[in-house]
Amino acid sequence: MLPAQLNAENVKDYPPQGRQLIVSQLDVLRQLPAVLVPILLHEAMVYDWKFPKERKDLDDQFTYLSSLPKVERDQLLAGFSAITLPAETAKLDWVNAPSQFIEHLTASLWSTHQMDDFRAAADEYARSWRAAIPVALPPVSRLAIVMVGSGVSTADYPLFRKLKPHGVHFTQVSPEQGFATLLHAVTTRAAAHPEPFAHWYVDGSENVQQLSTAVTYVSYAGMEPARNELLIRIQRAIQSGSGGPEALRTMLAQMMPQDLGLPSEGAAALLSRFQISLLTEGSGTQIFSTTFAQWAAREVLRRAQPVTLLVRYSPRQRQRPMNELLSGAPRSMELDPAGSLVDADMGAYYTWLNQQRLSGARESAFLVWFEEHNQALAIGPATPRGTSSSSPTDLRQILAWIG
């Protein structure tokens, strides 16, 4: 089937809002390159469970594509049109199984050395529609806060090395009421700027206290039942020995909230879908709490584009060395606070990088705090770069300064 043959009947099984979007854009979809259409359909298939900002992004793409004269559009998308597809990939059911098509397309791009061409085409397309329809500035400057080092009493690890050139390193921060201060800052912003999925709290451990309902909350401990159920299903699939990795990937992609005991109805379904994606699309998120926190923060920033984000890292389980595994000693869950601090330090840097990719980056504020210790680093529009301060201060003062 070719894009030109696409009609409303083809997408009758899509979720309602995604179907509506596609039906309204059939005219333009029929004129797009065969490589691009399945990618857009893949996004439309999950449109009903996208965050508001993600929906806006997809809507903007269609608005832009529809607005272009055909000649101009063909010119813009010429890079996609030039991609050659193997016959077996082109024959796939890209309407009803676009993810399978994309998987085959990716393999084909690598094996035929067209990956660089595809990247160039995608970059040019993204640059063009983003230039034509710029992302709106957030209603308030973005703030991201990262807490690292929970459970670490002393550390000689050189913290914040990658962040120091961009902000101020504080070395005399009073840790008193630190966590409470940060939570208060988040809930205050959520109350002042109420908007769905605009304020998030990601915890690498457990829910330590009740938060405002205006703050969206995910935690590693809170997802333990879903995680355990997922691991059981993965193990079962592996032990069955049938289907191989492709079947396993399909199983993961088709996982529904109710399969893992998560809410599947109403507004909660959106968050459930997001939580499932953290476990099924994030490598290592099922095993290490530090990986979960980093990946969750990345996905929250990329997808929900929040104005407020608090990420708290907790110690992950210790990776047991081979000799210990072979010793036959009974398995017990041990934590690795020191290693987790290193993980979290890098995770904090990635959170800042991901925050910088959002609109209003120049005005954004970022704070990372070595929990219960005296070190913090702050980056804001007015903070000098690559400096340090040994003056006594506290997190409230720092937040006021960068906010």
Binding site: S111, H113, P245, S283, I287, R320, N323, G339
Partner: protein
């Protein structure tokens, strides 16, 4: 901080190479050499029929930030302080192929960018370096060996090419597979994590078939009992240490002329735990020095062995929004495609940095020129700084 890439891929690769060169110049206080035309080997006294080669690859690339950049140097003290001063260092080795560990290692071994499914249990389609070596030089099967991480690599020693293939490849030892065979079957559940096939797709374990060595054969060739093997494994911290233990055993018992060791601990980066990735780099650094020390102290190898050390490729850049930094190598960006190579041994210029871009598929033709066989179907080019 520049988040949008302003330079093209070639600029970035050159910048990476420049950074490495500058760092090495500072770290080792050596004179970097860029010219390639006036290269002459320091001495070329080893007769080709006595010449040996050991290739060490890192399956799971390590980035500059964690290795040759200023902040990374603490992770590779042996590479920088001990091995680099003895080596010719290629600062810009480009991998233009598929960035999956098995298919990339197969490409290194064939000198052709292989295009098969990275997770499939298939042989390389082009002749491997082991087949060229054994066929052209009429070497015994015991003269070429591969020690590789686990099941997925079991066919790396021999291609399915009609002119080479069956019976002409290298013996392949998969230490983790041996460990699985040596462990009590009822206890395997306790070791699943350890025996995991790869970190990139931890749920994929291709069925074993091919030229792997069974325990009995290992016992016969390496004089290694299951009991001794298991006991020794219990003293080691990681699968890569087990691989190097097996490699040393091979060197002692069989002294193969062509030995290929693929390390894999670094690839735990796919789990997203940065500290474990760093641990893997530090371990690889130490193991490379251990292998070189073994070469220098073994009369069968000392003075006639060239060692090559290279990652199969890099990992994604922090600044590429399509990736997640060190965790994966999925974007195909310049950082994930650009890596380095160290070459050391008799006749190799020492403490020299080569800036010009070379490709990872140049390895096999270089080995061919060095050992005296023709890698006639390989697509790479012999590295003149090593072979002229």
């Amino acid at each position: 901080m520049r988040l949008n890439r302003q330079m093209n891929a070639g600029d970035i690769a050159r910048e990476i190479a420049w950074s490495r060169r500058e760092f090495l110049r500072g770290a080792a206080a050596v004179v970097a050499g860029g010219a390639t035309t006036s290269f002459a080997r320091a001495h070329t006294s080893v007769a080709r029929n006595r010449q040996k080669a050991v290739v060490v690859t890192f399956g799971g690339g390590a980035r500059d930030e964690e290795t040759f950049a200023p902040d990374g140097q603490e992770n590779i003290p042996n590479l920088v302080q001990t091995l680099f001063p003895q080596s010719t260092f290629y600062a810009q080795v480009i991998n233009r192929g598929i960035l999956g560990h098995y298919v990339a290692t197969a490409s290194l071994a064939t000198g052709v960018y292989e295009t098969f499914n990275n997770f499939a249990a298939v042989s390389p389609h082009n002749p491997t370096v082991f087949e060229y070596f054994r066929k052209d030089l009429r070497r015994r099967a015991t003269d070429a060996w591969v020690v590789a991480p686990s099941n997925g690599f079991n066919r790396i020693g021999e291609s399915d090419h009609r002119l080479y293939g069956a019976g002409l490849g290298a013996g392949v030892i998969l230490p983790k597979h041996l460990l699985a065979a040596a462990l009590p079957s009822q206890g395997l559940g306790n070791y699943e994590h350890l025996l995991r096939d790869n970190y990139e797709a931890p749920f994929n374990t291709p069925a074993l078939a091919g030229n792997e060595v069974e325990m009995e054969r290992l016992h016969h060739l390496l004089k290694l009992s299951v009991t001794d093997f298991s006991a020794h494994a219990r003293s080691l911290a990681s699968p890569d240490e087990l691989s190097v233990y097996i490699a040393r055993r091979l060197m002692r018992e069989l002294a193969p002329s062509l030995l290929w060791v693929t390390l894999h601990d670094i690839d735990i980066a796919h789990s997203g735990a940065y500290s474990l990735y760093i641990d893997g780099i530090r371990r690889s650094d130490r193991l490379c020095a251990d292998i070189w020390k073994t070469i220098q102290s073994d009369p069968e190898y000392a003075g006639k062995t060239t060692m090559f050390i290279l990652p199969d490729f890099g990992r994604d850049a922090d600044t590429d929004p399509g990736g997640n930094g060190f965790q994966h190598h999925r974007t195909g960006d310049p950082l994930s495609r650009t890596t380095w190579m160290m070459v050391m041994g008799p006749g190799i210029r020492q403490g020299v940095v080569i800036d010009r871009p070379v490709e990872s598929i140049d390895l096999v033709p270089t080995l061919g020129s060095l050992l005296g066989f023709s890698a006639r179907l390989a697509h790479g080019t012999p590295l003149v700084e090593v072979v002229s």
